[in-house]
Amino acid sequence: MSSLILTTTSRLILPAALIFSIYVLLRGHNEPGGGFIGGLIAAAGIAVHAIPRGRTGLIALLRVWPKALIGAGMLLGIAAGIPALLLAEPFLTQQWPFASLPIGTTLVFDVGVYLVVIGSVLTFLSYYLEN
């Protein structure tokens, strides 16, 4: 489906959606937001970009297949739980390596969720774009 209006506006929507999605992702630490909703926003932005350009446009933008994003996201999610196991604490116990910065394994997990959501939405989308 190629449409001049969608092609033009998607150039604006994509960066805006990506920046906003990252804001929502980081905001999720203490306020409403987080990896899931951030991922959905980013996926919506990418979908708007991909729908007029087709499947090749989607892959050209992502550089990888959407399934690889799911795998990478799951790996990050698992990796977020491992440090706790190494410290003999239950799996997924939050770890805060920097005393002053709120950056810890929770953020890693959220980024993992973010990637899994983007990957799975775009996997579905790429099948529809194929047909």
């Binding site: 306020e31 409403p32 899931f36 799975s120 579905f124 099948y127």
Partner: protein, 136 residues
Amino acid sequence: MEPVFALAFGVMVAVAAYLLMSRNVLRIVLGLLVLGNAANLSIFLAGRLDSRIPPLVPAGETMLVGGANPLPQALILTAIVISFALVAFTVVLFESAHRRLGTLDAEAMREAEPRPAEKSVTEPRRSAPAKVTEHA
């Protein structure tokens, strides 16, 4: 509020049961959707409906006072995400079944379990399937 929600739950289950008993697989998908939403409603109902304040702990405090029960919301969110994935899969499956089998009638889908006598019967058993397909 509880009686209203309970009634809505009952109506939704009834609608879902009606749609699920249809022979048209498209209606069956709709029935599954309504049933899933009825389940979500029942979780919401089970978590009590006494507060409308968002369950957010204000900055500087450690206790949630007067907020709604956050647990059902988390459960429903999980259930919605899961049922979204399942329904998406179901639609794709039914669509490809429709394409390969050429019918939307669940009764006419007998590829996996053919009737023993079917080989000798030349005429379709009923004429209804064609109409159902057209309707969709």
